[in-house]
């Protein structure tokens, strides 16, 4: 009897041991799950951060480069080395002149360009400002408006002027502009 009792006691003890182990395993699993959840939250945080960053960057780019239907040119070259600091002047189809999302009249444009030219570097020998200007004018805008932008550039002694264009041929190699016919 005693032996049997002892055996039963042993089996009980074993059972208890087994239960303990199971509990421990469960605990460990729970802890593991918690860790996984923690990792997921930080990842979502990072992803949202990235999304926010891209949204802001795209907005900023839009501010500088407004949507304009540029004129065609055959000889234009893709811009590879753009100067680090330059002013992009957008001339919209109805003649509004904009820089970085602000709209200027011709005196305001002159004032802006004059200050930008004075703040930027100057050539040592000639003393002329080094600041580059890119005029992005819509192809249907009246020339008068673009001429005025050029005149304001001249008045503020800015001479590095370029015009924004788009390739003359589309992806299929078809001529896009009727004035070249």
């Amino acid at each position: 009897m005693q032996g049997a009792n002892a055996a039963a006691a042993v089996s009980q003890a074993e059972e208890l041991e087994l239960l303990k182990r199971k509990r421990e395993k469960r605990k460990a699993r729970r802890a593991n799950e918690k860790e996984q959840k923690n990792g997921l939250t930080s990842m979502i945080d990072i992803v949202f951060l990235l999304i926010f960053f891209f949204m802001v960057v795209t907005d900023l780019q839009k501010m500088e480069i407004e949507e304009i239907d540029l004129p065609f040119a055959v000889e234009a070259t893709p811009e590879t080395d753009t100067p680090p600091k330059r002013v992009i002047v957008n001339v919209k189809p109805h003649g509004e002149v904009g820089i970085m999302g602000w709209t200027f009249d011709s005196e305001g444009l002159f004032e802006f360009l004059r200050r930008a030219a004075a703040d930027g570097p100057h050539d040592e020998t000639t003393g002329l400002p080094e600041l580059a200007v890119k005029i992005r004018a819509d192809k249907v805008v009246e020339y008068e408006k673009v001429q005025d932008v050029m005149v304001q550039c001249m008045r503020s002694r800015l001479w590095k002027v370029s015009f924004g264009t788009q390739p003359e041929l589309d992806e299929k190699g078809l001529m896009l502009s009727p004035e070249f016919e």
Partner: protein
Amino acid sequence: MIDVTFLLLIFFMCSMNFKSIEQALGAELPKDSGQMVGPPPPPVIPIRVKIHWANARGQVIHSPQAAYPDGFEGARPHVGLAGAHVAVKVGPLRVRNLNELARALADLASRQNDISVVIDARRAVPFKWVIGALDACARAQVTDVKFQSPPAPGGGGDDWWWL
């Protein structure tokens, strides 16, 4: 949720890349070069590229909407607006389009060593014609290109050279 965020992320990344590569046509304005040393170089008579609106009879008009600009005064003969189109001239020679302009300029450049071109576009001409003319100069390998300045405020100048 993660799916959605990744979708958004990929969408924004793609939309950034879709922006087509823009091109540029350099046009350096004349520098104020200061005092000249030595004998002056022989003057080069510039070739004028005139761009203006014209009617079906070839008469010069201000724009398809008006024969004369706002506030234009003076007795002028009646000019019709029918068949308004943009006309391009190289000196006295009329060219039909920008390819012909490029050919005419290349022809002139081959006969003379260094030619100078002045692009004289009227106020109401669409900007694409001016860029087209500048492009034609580049195609004809003419490097000395200038733009006619607008007439002085208060009228005068050569704003109405065709009349």
